[in-house]
């Protein structure tokens, strides 16, 4: 990593933020129950990144680095350690202002998600980073801090296991974020 000046670090952070906000939001929304929690994860991840902006790698690698940060933030979140209330308030409002139409949820999708929940954490992450985030094994390996060979092995095992579980799992209806309906605009005055 080359040495950047303070002003360059800030410009780099802005660029990285603009380029990675959506992938990070998607990453968070895919891994939490409530959209408001995704706002917390995104805010916390970028706040950590801002504090460590000197360490953010060059543009191409920044997204992977941020997934790694988000993964740790998410782990804290699952332990109940993240309670951000001050940052990301507007993002939280926007994300929660979407309503969900449960009737539109397709049972097959729910079966897949239920099966995913039964995989081990690392197997699930390998699969999701590959299919949902669209990462190559080398990139997945970088996010998870394991070798690319290990990712390939896990990937084929996770696929086989998921196939098995989806086949076994009975279809269950549920309330999962899926179809977005337009929010009602707020009264202006």
């Amino acid at each position: 990593m080359g040495v950047r000046s303070g002003a360059e670090d800030e410009e780099h952070f802005r660029r990285v933020y603009a380029a990675t906000f959506e992938p990070l939001l998607a990453y968070a929304l895919r891994r939490v129950e409530q959209p408001a929690d995704a706002a917390d994860i995104v805010a916390e991840t970028f706040l950590v990144a801002w504090r460590r902006r000197r360490e953010i790698p060059a543009d191409g690698e920044a997204r992977l680095w941020l997934y790694g940060v988000a993964r740790r933030v998410l782990a804290n979140h699952h332990r109940g350690d993240v309670r951000r209330e001050r940052l990301g308030q507007r993002l939280r409002q926007r994300l929660t202002s979407f309503s969900i139409d449960p009737a539109a949820e397709v049972p097959e999708r729910l079966a897949v998600r239920a099966a995913l929940a039964r995989l081990s954490e690392l197997d699930r992450e390998v699969l999701l980073l590959t299919v949902w985030e669209g990462l190559e094994p080398r990139e997945t390996a970088q996010v998870l801090g394991v070798s690319a060979a290990a990712v390939r092995t896990r990937l084929s095992r996770a696929r086989a296991r998921l196939r098995e579980l989806v086949g076994d799992d009975p279809v269950r209806p549920g309330h999962v974020l899926d179809v977005l309906t337009a929010p009602v605009p707020e009264e202006g005055r």
Binding site: G6, E10, L25, R30, L47, V48, R52, L110, L180, E187
Partner: protein
Amino acid sequence: MIDDQLHDADPYRPEIIGHLDGADQTLLEEIMSADRMPAPWRRRLIAPIAAAAALIGVLAVSAVVRHERPETHEAVRPAPTTSSQWSALILRAAEQNPRLLIQEPGWKITTVYGFTENTGTMRFTKGDRELEINWYPAAQYQGYYTHRLDVSKPEPGRVDGIDGSIFTYSASDFAIMLKPNDDTFAELRTGGKWTRSAFDQELTKIKRVDVQTWLTAMPLEIVTPGRADEAAAKVLEGVPLPPKFDRSALNAVGTNDPYQFGAAVAARVGCGWIVEWQRAKQAGDQAASKKAADALRGSHQWKFLQQMTKDGAYPTVFWETADQIAAGTLPVGYRDALGCP
């Protein structure tokens, strides 16, 4: 096949990006400008820098940063050595800030930081509404103003006789930027559910007060200079201090809420241990470097850091940095990450 099914089960809907209404930009601004790092002068420069960079290029901006730093950062001035010198310094800082208070029952001051320089933040909360006041050096007024013109068309407004411009972020989110008064200018921005008429109404209740009234208005949990010694003693209980640690320097951090005060203390203790760790490493003093590494590793047990986790990310960053050093690696940019003085 299973990949197709999995792909189809992806809960993310890209349409959501089109419905954010600028919330992503607001978060960026919050992170870069309202970040809770105990070195406000640095982040206060960011918005005008961003605005100016487009016009005059990065080289000229770097010159602005170099030019601004000695004027605004107290740490580069000779440190006062007596408490009366500290008081004089704080008093001067309080004189420079706008000292705006909401003169209406029910508003509580929930966040305070800055005050040793001509930048600072105060947040007032009442029910589900917030009003945040930030102030900046008067010299940066034009840069901020130009930046805010991207938000909306300005409309005239006024706070206690000071003229300003009202900017509309959304139907429930407004700000007023006041014209410079002495060394600073203030910007007030809403948080939570507001209407324009409620905002206009609230602006009539905000008054500029004298230094004494302003300091007295701080709630008990806010660490004012007069309460710094007591607060420091409490925070530092059970915390190992690095060699040559100067407790009296904690009087120089101004007026802060407990989170900001905690961050200022942690930065001084943590950075002190890091300096000691580096020195010991270089000198080949294994006992001392182990002692410093142990102190940093032990920061997970510092009560005040544990308490701060509910309010922000500072402890997370502190512990990550401390753990890396305890494991033998000095992370690049640790000074920025911790806010070393």
